[in-house]
Amino acid sequence: MKRHLISAADLTRDDAVLILDTAEEMARVADRPIKKLPTLRGRTVCNLFFEDSTRTRISFEAAEKRLSADVINFAAKGSSVSKGESLKDTAQTLEAMGVDAVVIRHGASGAPYRLATSGWIDAPVINAGDGTHQHPTQALLDAFTMRRRLLGPDAGLGQDLGGKRITLVGDVLHSRVARSNVDLLHTLGAEVTLVAPPTLVPVGVEHWPCEVSYDLDSVLPKSDAVMMLRVQRERMNAAFFPTEREYSRRYGLDGQRMARMPGHALVMHPGPMVRGMEITAEVADSGRCTAVEQVANGVSVRMAVLYLLLGGNEPAVTHPRTEEK
């Protein structure tokens, strides 16, 4: 594995499978009376959040604390931070304080990459979502959820998602979740289809390793999992689609549409859900919807990432050196 986790595209198949396998072991810790491991004792991890995201931040914080890391939460939003140079200043402050890793959430695409490559800071950088670029741990927890549900927790060990057909529906253009998922699911051998109104698909999508469809109903029967992406109501004002009602009618998932999915197929949502917009309450609250499970899996996956990046003196080696063994 690389030193930083910036993009899901940085992960090889073996890296990704190792993270998912490790997350399975981490998930078992959650069932124990003492849900804590001493592994990162004495290591300081800073959650550097330039953008509000309570759920991602507490998920990372839970993961860090379960691994006994010391946690510093730095919420830059709303403080005096307004100009970009403060990313550098903040990074240098953290470096001077001797943090061992930085988990960064930033509204600007590329900010984590910049942090990792600028020389401002030496610590490993984990991207917790940057602009409309990437959110790799979200993609990992989604893949983890799919593997558990579609293959089983034990049967899935060592396996990828080869041949699984995954459909992502919604605002692909503005979605870091979609970008990360397309990269990771492709790496894991899945066949990905994006479904969205053409206005919400980026120019250049033809270079992505996936299919694009504008017709949800034709894709649903061929899907092993359908991931609904959040659609912000404000998009309507920028003429991405005419009305909320029309969006829901063409791209929302309701009970009737869910019935067209194969019996084993999952409904996924990275949260927070806009009920009534991209998903009806009936679907969101059904047993096929994994939204809550995804949250729990998020902690396990983030523990796995933190362990594999910080547990040793260098990240886990996914291709064992031949001289060992």
């Binding site: 100009k83 970009g84 140079e85 990313l87 550098k88 930033h106 509204g107 600007a108 695409s109 590329g110 900010a111 990459y113 910049r114 490559t117 600028s118 940057d130 602009g131 409309t132 670029h133 990437q134 870091r176 970008r179 980026p202 120019v203 250049g204 999508v205 033809e206 270079h207 992505w208």
Partner: protein
Amino acid sequence: MSKILIRGAQVLGGQPQDVLIDGELIAAVGTDLPADGAEVIEAAGQVLLPGLVDLHTHLREPGREDSETVLTGTRAAASGGYTAVFAMANTFPVADTAGVVEQVYRLGREHGYCDVQPIGAVTVGLDGKKLAELGAMHESAAGVTVFSDDGKCVHDAVIMRRALEYVKAFGGVVAQHAQEPRLTEGAQMNEGAVSAELGLGGWPAVAEESIIARDVLLAEHVGSRVHICHLSTAGSVEIVRWAKSRGIDVTAEVTPHHLLLTDELVRTYNPVYKVNPPLRTERDVMALREALADGTIDIVATDHAPHPHEDKDCEWAAAAMGMVGLETALSVVQRTMVETGLLDWAGVADRMSVKPAQIGGAAGHGRPVSAGEPANLTLVDSAYRGEVDPAGFASRSRNTPYEGRELPGRVTHTFLRGRATLVDGKLA
């Protein structure tokens, strides 16, 4: 002023000749000219060009002296082989009155490194709404003939039409920064495969092309001429080619960076590659080179845009747009146009000196290298190879995209009206 004999230089890349400078003028061009007490510069193997003229420079003074001043900017220009630069109007205050343009003009003359010809704003405060006093700026001591809201597009079709019409009265030209503002809201880089992957707001080619198409039609309709700043896409080339074939009086410029760099570099998220218009694709780069070679694009202009370190040492979205270019322009043109066989040195002289001087009306610049002409000259060691080291720049800013990149050619001497502003690569 004393005499200078440049001995054995390849004038416009041709056979070695001697050039004798006497005072402000070229006294003689020939072979085996006698030194006759003149200071002799041995220039065997070097290329002699008319002093370069940049139609698109940001000198930042007044207002952003932390990034550049007229002094540092003209020193950078002399280092790069330039004898005249056109200073863009987007200063603070904006160069939209006779007072501001005269100040910039005078500073250039006083420092003496390079003639500074101010460009006047088309609209008051560059806000695109009300015409600035174009006539007053023309009649000022600065004698402004080029008008531009560069940095912003004159996007209102009526304002653009009026400006094109109005400047006909005194032979002015409007230089358009072609960028449809609504299509580029939140835009961060060229819209395409790379922007889709990087999650950076897309800057579609059509935002440039649609304005160019509109403006060449407007120019045709009102019978004026129009100049297109920093043309950056293959589609823009097609439109200008079509307009010229139709007899529309349009000229166009391309920057050195758009001749060399592509949006693939944005993958580094290093804001040194952030520029307006954005770096485009390989296909666009090739089309721009072809167009510069065949004359569809008339000139190379640097869009030298200095920014202080802190405006680039940050995340992409927060960074300023622009690159310095005066001190690397000729090297980039040598790499992209001369070494590829697309232009010879006479062609370089045409695109970087003769034509820009004509478009902007820079008297005494872009003249033939022959007896009786003003001695505005640039001597280039074209065999030189070296890595770009911004630490050696005369510009106050260092935001070059070429740091560490090997580029050919080095300007050794620059002469402004017979006086050396650059000697052996060092500013006089």
